[in-house]
């Protein structure tokens, strides 16, 4: 029983990490077709904002709000200055954001040095059997799910979300109908950046804060997004982080975190060979088939 709980904890923990890393990225990619390679550095920036706020005496519960807001505003500025010139040029945007990420990580290193004083992990821990668990990690799992639901709600139940989805499907038609697509793109990029900042803030107490910390997030995040595909943004990111965690967790437990990462890459290559359009299109086809069968049954 304790073994089962232990595995479930590790599995959910990994899945939450993958989900939170990828959330901001997938919004920007799914809605705007912009591959944001500076995503890891936005996460890093969020962690720095949180740490600085915390050292200045802001309680940890409030510090992530700062990270969300400041990184979000930074994202809007970047979008206005550079990203807007790259709509429709995926590879161009990708290289551009890589340049931005380099400048950010080295800039942070020049300003703040190569590491920051860590934030202690809040909330303490409990133990079952021989294993010890952190309440904070459990909170992160819950927050990951909550955020996903919130974003889903924003994009599916608000007028902003409706306009954003219309812009995604057909920008010209959306413009014709009076939607300010430039503003939609700006807000979407800002929201994606803000979520990256929030992710950085949430993981700040659990990791070593350095200018290169973005790397540890950005590789898994991109694998999640690549495997998820863009057919359905939310089903993709949820499905692929679950699937990848299911693959990575046992390997990571048995052979260590490094091999877990290798398996992630190999799994990505193989899954992409089998499902070129990602988990989301598979889920979509599966869902379609299910509802068709149900309709068929009703028809009889």
């Amino acid at each position: 029983m304790t073994e089962v709980f232990n595995f479930a904890y590790l599995f959910l923990n990994n899945a939450a990490f993958l989900l939170l890393s990828a959330l901001g990225l997938v919004i920007i990619l799914g809605m705007m077709d912009i591959i944001n390679l500076a995503h890891g550095e936005l996460i890093m920036m969020g962690a720095y904002v949180t740490t600085i706020a915390y050292q200045a005496g802001v309680p940890f519960v409030i510090a992530p709000v700062f990270a969300f807001a400041i990184v979000g505003i930074f994202g809007v500025i970047i979008e206005r200055l550079f990203i807007r010139r790259f709509y429709g040029r995926e590879l161009g945007a990708l290289v551009l954001t890589w340049g931005i990420s380099l400048v950010m990580s080295q800039g942070i290193r020049i300003i703040f040095g190569s590491s920051m004083k860590p934030i202690p992990t809040p909330l303490g821990s409990f133990s079952i059997g021989d294993y010890s668990y952190s309440y904070y990690r459990l909170l992160l799992i819950a927050l990951g799910v909550l955020l996903l639901v919130c974003i889903w709600w924003i994009y599916n139940r608000t007028s902003f979300g409706l306009h954003a989805r219309a812009t995604m499907q057909n920008p010209d038609m959306a413009r014709t109908l009076g939607i300010n697509t430039r503003r939609i793109y700006m807000y979407t990029f800002g929201l994606g950046a803000a979520l990256a900042g929030l992710t950085g803030a949430l993981f700040a107490p659990t990791t070593h804060i350095s200018p290169l910390m973005g790397q540890q997030f950005v590789v898994p995040a991109f694998i999640v997004v690549v495997i998820g595909g863009t057919a359905g943004v939310f089903s993709g990111v949820a499905g692929s982080s679950t699937l990848l965690s299911l693959i990575q967790t046992p390997v990571g437990v048995a052979y260590g975190a490094y091999l877990g990462l290798i398996v992630l890459l190999v799994a990505a290559l193989v899954i992409i060979r089998v499902l070129p359009n990602g988990v989301s299109s598979f889920l979509q086809r599966w869902g379609d088939a299910l509802s068709e069968r149900r309709q068929g049954a009703v028809g009889k």
Binding site: L91, L102, L265
Partner: protein, 358 residues
């Protein structure tokens, strides 16, 4: 012969006419004469600056002509260096060992690229995913090599060396001739010139036109009967071999290699060279690679923290304001301005369509 000359001077590359070729020949002659006028230190430095050009040309072929962006060129660079070190270190004393090791290194890189490329191109992965997968490949390689410290990680007589890298890699030797100093410089220079000219022929050949067509409109190219998966796999392997060649020259130059040659910093440099030079011009890319390597090594030896900020900034400026590349924009504006009308680089050309499929 005439056909070859036509291919050399085809429309897919800047620089045509007698003046251009005379200039190029003169530059090469000067470079070949350099050991006569310059000292040992300069020759060592020039060997280093020139050795990156095949890597840059490979990325130019892949990204500029083929539209396939790879951040994994340095992975092939490092893989070739390490493979040479492992084979060469184990065959010490056997005649021709270093030649075998060189061939083995390039072969290993080609096989690696073939396997990786098969999954990517035959899986019909979307184009934006390829840079990400190749970046992950690079980072995985670097992380792997970083943790190979200690006696557990030895291949035969050779220690992989972990974070500190592999040392004591033998220099290239053919018979009694050890490639070192001037001899090595001539080797690098010859390889650079030959690979530039061969690539020029390649991009202006029928294959090169199909390649550019697949960049411009992959669906149309496929409908015309070309297998773009194969075309892309071939240039991926070719560019990996070119990157491997640079990596090989690097270990032959310095007799050591560290995992940081495959790090994120190393991975970004080829992209900066190619974007700054102008990705669909081989010559511009070669010039940019040479010049920016010089800048990078000057900044590094001055201990400046701003090297990466400058490289990143250059990337942002080049992508935002000079999408065709800074050097190409300069060249179009002044040097080759008058000759350029008949030969645009986005030349998807009716010629391709009028020819029969192979």
């Amino acid at each position: 012969m005439r056909r070859l000359l036509q291919l050399l001077s085809g429309p897919q590359e800047i620089g045509h006419g007698a003046a251009f070729w005379l200039g190029l020949a003169l530059t090469c002659a000067l470079l070949f004469a350099l050991p006569v006028i310059a000292g040992f230190g300069v020759i060592i430095d020039f060997s280093y600056l020139l050795h990156v050009i095949p890597l840059a040309l490979g990325l130019s072929l892949l990204w500029g002509y083929g539209g396939v962006l790879s951040f994994g060129q340095v992975a092939f660079y490092g893989a070739a260096g390490y493979t040479y070190g492992v084979i060469g270190g184990n065959l010490v004393g056997i005649p021709g060992a270093t030649l075998i090791a060189s061939a083995g290194a390039l072969l290993a890189v080609a096989i690696l690229a073939l396997i990786f490329g098969y999954f990517v191109f035959y899986g019909r992965v979307q184009m934006w995913i390829i840079p990400i997968l190749t970046l992950v490949l690079t980072l995985v390689f670097e992380t792997f090599m970083n943790q190979t410290a200690g006696l557990a990680w030895r291949v035969g007589d050779v220690m992989l060396g972990g974070y500190n890298g592999m040392t004591g890699i033998p220099s290239l030797q053919i018979g009694d001739l050890v490639f070192f100093g001037n001899a090595f410089y001539y080797l690098v220079l010859a390889l650079v010139v030959v690979s530039y000219l061969l690539l020029r022929v390649l991009v202006n050949s029928h294959f090169g036109h199909v390649l550019v067509a697949s960049r411009e409109d992959d669906l149309r190219t496929e409908v015309l009967g070309y297998d773009i998966r194969r075309v892309r796999l071939i240039i991926f392997v070719v560019s990996a071999i070119l990157a491997g060649l640079s990596g090989l020259l690097y270990v032959l130059w310095g007799n050591f290699i560290t995992p940081s040659t495959m790090g994120i910093v190393a991975a970004v440099l080829p992209v900066v060279w190619v974007a700054t030079g102008g990705r669909d011009s081989l010559l511009a890319v070669a010039i940019a690679a040479f010049g920016l390597s010089y800048l990078q090594s000057e900044l590094a030896s001055a201990g400046s923290q701003y090297a990466l900020v400058i490289m990143g900034g250059l990337l942002i400026v080049a992508m935002t304001f000079f999408p065709k590349g800074i050097i190409v924009s300069l060249a179009r504006g002044r040097l080759f301005g008058r000759r350029r009308q008949h030969a645009t680089t986005t030349h998807t050309s009716p010629e391709v369509e009028s020819r029969e499929a192979p």
